[in-house]
Symmetry: C2
Subunit: 436 residues, 2 copies
C-alpha cells in the first residue's frame, strides 16, 4: 500500500523523537499498520537549526500553515505546544478535511469541545493519546478497553516532575525547594515550574480523563487545584509512620451530587500499587463497574514515550481513513449527542478522609479538646500520633487521621480547632484516599 503522508508541525524534542521513531521502527510499523508512515512536510521555528533527527526526506520550512495547506499532507501532527497558534492550525487542518494528531494537553483541555465539534462537522478524527500520561495508552484503555463499564472513579499520578520531587522527599529526606532546584537542573521541570508543582498540567490531563471516563464535556475551569509546595518532609515522614505515602494525584469521582474533579497532594496506603509509583513515572488507576480496579503505568513524558503515543494515534487514524465517522471511536469516548450534563461539584461537596497536623500546647487535655471538636462535628478518628516536644519547644506536633467526611464539614471543624487557645498557628490538612 502507499505510504501515509504526514505533515508535522514542530520539530523540537517530541517532533524529532517522532521522526526518529518512524524511521527506526519503520519496518515494525509497516508490518503492523500495513503501510509505512512518512513525514513529508514539516514546519519548525528555526528550519536551519541542527536537529536530533534526519530531515532529508521531507520539505522543511518556517510556515506551519503551508504544511497544513499542502495538498500532499493527509494527517497533521501538531507538536508546537502553546495554545493560540496550535488552535488556529488545528482548526485550519480540520477545515481542510485533514485528520489531526496532537500531544497538546492544554489545547484539548481548554478548547477540545470546540475542536471536536468542528472535527465532527468536517468528518475527521482528532487523536490525543499523547496528551495524557505520555506513552501509557490510557486514552485507548479507557475509551475502548473499558467501553462496557460504568466508571466510578479514576486517580492518577499524571505529572512526573511533582512525583519526582515527592519521591526524593520520601527516599532522600530532602526538602521541596532543594529537589525542585535539582529537577530544574536535570531538565525535568521547566524554568517556571508552576504548571507542574501547582497542578495546572495535571489538571489539564485530568480534565481530559474525566471527560472520557464520564462522558461529560471538557471543563478545565471546574478542576480544583492544589500544589505540593506546602508539603514538608515532616509530613512525608509522619505519613510514612502511619503507613502512607504522599502523592500528587488527579482524581475524578462520582460524588453524591455530581462529579468531583481535583488535583491535590494525597496520602495513599503504602501497599497500594499507585503509592509505589516513584520518580518521574506516571500511573493511572481506574475503578470501573463491573471490572473493578485496573492500573496503567509507564513513562509520562519525554520525546520517546510521547512519540510512541503519537505513532499509535497515527496508525489508528490510518486504519479509520475509510470508516464512516459514526463508527469511529468517539472523541470523548461517548457519542457527541450523548454527552452528559451531570454537574461538576465544588470541593465542599466532596468526601475524603483527612490527615491533620497541628502544633498544640504541651499540656494535659489538649488532645481531648481537639478530638472533642471533631467528634462534635461527627468526624471519626482513625489514628492519632502525639510527638514529644522538641528540646525547649512549648508545643508538640499532633497528627490525626480521620475517616471519610464531607469537605464542608471538615472546613468548619478545622476552623474550630484553629480557634482553640492551645492550638498554635494553622492546621496542615492533606486529603487521604484509600482507593478501595
Amino acid at each position: 500500500m502507499q505510504p501515509v503522508k504526514v505533515g508535522l508541525l514542530g520539530l523540537g524534542t517530541v517532533g524529532g523523537g517522532t521522526v526518529n521513531l518512524l524511521e527506526r521502527n519503520r519496518d515494525e510499523i509497516t508490518r503492523r499498520a500495513g503501510r509505512p508512515i512518512d513525514v513529508v512536510h514539516a514546519a519548525a521555528r528555526h528550519p536551519d537549526r541542527a536537529r536530533t533527527c534526519s530531515t532529508e526526506h521531507m520539505r522543511l520550512e518556517y510556515d506551519a500553515f503551508a504544511v497544513v495547506d499542502d495538498p500532499d499532507t493527509e494527517i497533521i501532527v501538531e507538536l508546537i505546544g502553546g495554545v493560540d497558534l496550535a488552535k488556529e492550525l488545528t482548526l485550519r487542518a480540520i477545515e481542510r478535511g485533514k485528520h489531526v494528531v496532537t500531544a497538546n494537553k492544554a489545547l484539548i483541555a481548554l478548547h477540545g469541545n470546540e475542536i471536536f465539534a468542528r472535527a465532527r462537522d468536517n468528518g475527521v478524527t482528532v487523536g490525543f493519546e499523547a496528551a495524557v500520561a505520555g506513552g501509557i495508552p490510557i486514552i485507548k484503555a479507557v475509551r475502548e478497553g473499558l467501553v462496557g463499564n460504568r466508571i466510578e472513579w479514576l486517580a492518577g499520578i499524571i505529572n512526573g516532575t511533582s512525583n519526582f520531587i515527592l519521591s526524593e522527599m520520601l527516599y532522600a529526606g530532602r526538602e521541596f525547594g532543594e529537589v525542585l532546584a535539582e529537577a530544574q537542573r536535570l531538565g525535568y521541570a521547566e524554568a517556571d515550574p508552576t504548571f507542574d508543582v501547582e497542578g495546572v498540567d495535571a489538571a489539564h490531563k485530568l480534565t481530559i480523563l474525566a471527560s472520557i471516563a464520564f462522558g461529560i464535556p471538557l471543563q478545565f475551569d471546574k478542576v480544583h487545584m492544589e500544589g505540593i509546595g506546602q508539603i514538608s518532609t515532616d509530613d512525608v515522614a509522619y505519613a510514612s509512620e502511619l503507613g502512607f505515602r504522599i502523592k500528587h494525584l488527579g482524581i475524578c469521582r462520582r460524588e453524591g451530587d455530581g462529579i468531583g474533579l481535583r488535583v491535590h497532594p494525597t496520602l495513599l496506603p503504602e501497599r497500594q500499587l499507585l503509592a509505589n509509583v516513584d520518580g518521574v513515572m506516571n500511573a493511572v488507576m481506574v475503578n470501573a463497574d463491573p471490572l473493578g480496579p485496573t492500573l496503567y503505568y509507564g513513562a509520562g513524558a519525554g520525546a520517546d514515550p510521547t512519540a510512541s503515543a503519537v505513532v499509535a494515534d497515527l496508525v489508528d487514524v490510518v486504519r479509520e481513513f475509510t470508516l464512516e465517522p459514526e463508527n469511529r471511536v468517539p472523541y470523548l469516548a461517548f457519542q457527541s449527542h450523548s454527552l452528559s450534563d451531570e454537574p461538576v461539584v465544588g470541593m465542599e461537596a466532596v468526601d475524603t478522609a483527612y490527615y491533620l497536623r497541628l502544633e498544640a500546647q504541651d499540656e494535659p487535655g489538649v488532645l481531648a479538646e481537639v478530638t472533642g471538636v471533631l467528634s462534635q462535628a461527627g468526624i471519626s478518628i482513625e489514628a492519632v500520633i502525639q510527638k514529644q516536644p522538641a528540646p525547649g519547644a512549648e508545643t508538640v506536633p499532633v497528627i490525626l487521621l480521620t475517616h471519610r467526611v464531607r469537605e464542608s464539614k471538615m472546613d468548619a471543624a478545622c476552623q474550630a480547632i484553629e480557634a482553640l487557645d492551645a492550638v498554635h498557628g494553622s492546621l496542615v490538612r492533606i486529603r487521604v484516599e484509600t482507593l478501595a
Copy 2:
C-alpha cells in the same frame, strides 16, 4: 441505530456475566458504541436450569450450532470453553461470515493460526481480549497502544490462582499444599489445579502475548513450563531476606539467538511494581523501544472482568463492521503476510540470573568449593547467605544469587556442585529477573 444482534454460546459464569453486563450498562454502552448490543439467541448445556442472568429477551436452546446458523445473529460469542467443540463452532461461524468473540485461551493458543487463516479468508474478525488477563485490556494495549514500538520483552503474572498461593505463602507463611486446598475451597482453583499451578494456563496466555508482541505465529508447544509446586516457604522467606519476592511469571524475550518463551517461578526485586501484585490479581509488564517499561494491572479472571473484555471486543467488532479487512487491527498485531519466522529457542539458550539453595556439610571450606565451581564456570555471584545449622543438623542451608548467565552454563555448574561430597541432595534453582 439498530441494535447489534449477538449469538451467545455458553451461559455459565462468564456467559451469564456478559448478559448481565450488557443489560446493566446498556445505557452506558449505547452512549459509547452508538447502538445497543443484544443477545438474541443463546445456547446452554442445560437450557432449563436456573441462571444468574435474565434470559427473557433471547431464544435459549441446547443446540449451539443452531445459534451459529441462525441468520439473525451477526456476531458469535464463544464462551463454552474446552477446545474441540469450541473450535468446530468457531470455524462454522467464520464460514457463515460471522465475526467471533471468544474468551478461550486454549482455543487460541492451540488453534489460533488455523482460526485466523480461515477468518482472513472469510473477511471476519476474531476478538480474543478476554482470553488473556481477564479484564485488563492488554491485547489492545500491545496490539494498538504500542504499535510504534519494537517490543523487547514482556513479563506477566497471568494466573491468579498461582499468584494467590504465592502471596499467601509470603504473607501468611503457609505451605503450598495448604493454600492450594484453600484456593480450591474458595473456588479460585479448579478441582484439578494442574492447569494453574503447573503453568499450562499461563503458557496458553503467554503464547498469545508473545505472538502479538513479536509478530510470530502461535507456538504453544515451544513454551517452557515450570510450576510452583516445588517452591517452599523457606525459599519464599530467603528470597524476602535478599529483597526479592517469588512470582509465577510468563516471560517472552528476545534472546541472542531467537525468542524465549517460558513460564516459571521467578525472583523479582521487591521494589518492582510487578513484585507487589498480590492475591488473585494479574499484571503484565512490557518493555518496548522507544517507550520503555509499561505495566497493566487488574482482575485476571472471573465473570465480571471477563465479561468486560468480551463487551470491549463486541464494540470493536461493531465499529469495524463496515471496515475493509486490510484496515482492521490484524489478529496477531502484525499483518498476516508479515509474521516473522524468528525461531523460538530452548531454555539452554536463555540468559537469567539465579537463586540457588543447597544443603552443605557444616564444615570449613565448603562455601569456597561451591563458589569455586561457579567461578570456574564464569558465573559471578551477587550475594550469599549461609545460615546457622538447625539444632542437631549436620548441614546448613547456603543461598546464592548469581549474575545473569546462559542456562546451559548454569546446568553444568549445578551438576558439578551437586557432585561435591560436602553438598547433600539436589540444588533448589529459581530464576531471577530484575526486569531492568
